[in-house]
Symmetry: C2
Subunit: 137 residues, 2 copies
Amino acid sequence: MKLNEIGVIRSEYQTRKETPRQGFHSDKLCTLVIKEEYREASLDLRVGDLIQVMYFANKADRTVLRNTSHHRREERGVFSTRSPHRPNPINICIARIEDIDDNIIVSGLDALDGSPIVDIKGYSKRLHDGLMEKYDK
Amino acid sequence: MKLNEIGVIRSEYQTRKETPRQGFHSDKLCTLVIKEEYREASLDLRVGDLIQVMYFANKADRTVLRNTSHHRREERGVFSTRSPHRPNPINICIARIEDIDDNIIVSGLDALDGSPIVDIKGYSKRLHDGLMEKYDK
């Protein structure tokens, strides 16, 4: 399966150590620079919207199947975690749109500078609430 | 960017019309058949866990940039929607693990039979709750 780079993330984070543990812990702004040929797909995004940004963690180790995490010492299979190190390192981070010009300015993103954007999806609180009700969580 | 198929989804849905609008509206079971070489990554998944299943919608139209949806007549840019038709058609569906043998049996998945699995991530209610608090939603 081949993915097209739809754009690139510009952020202040040059190394993984600088990134917040969860994107929303940070108020720093990042810029989603969407390629000209894909801009039509972002036409209905609005300031204040929450979006799921899917980006390729191009510095991740794709050979890792088990890993430790921030809060656990024992190794776990990566499919039960959200570690960026995994066979297909596509990270998902929910961000808030703060401004829109030619590009999309967001807060709450944890991506390294230069990460290729794979996809952007609307984030639905209603979908989450429906899930939690269904599964009694 | 190239993705590896980590496994395949076996479901009762042969056509898009058969799939539920949201996976969790259905109680039908689907099977995640993980390739032998990636099984170590799924070792710590447990019955009852909610997981994010990322799969490749290999029947989607990757040229679509604007689309209508179930509940809206006017076209919208696909990045503000969750339509499967988009330049990189990776769908995300939250499912519940119902059983584990060599494979992983889940409920709540909306995928067509034969969809390649791209990734599985643990689903964190705490992460969502943190987000909602932060953004006052």
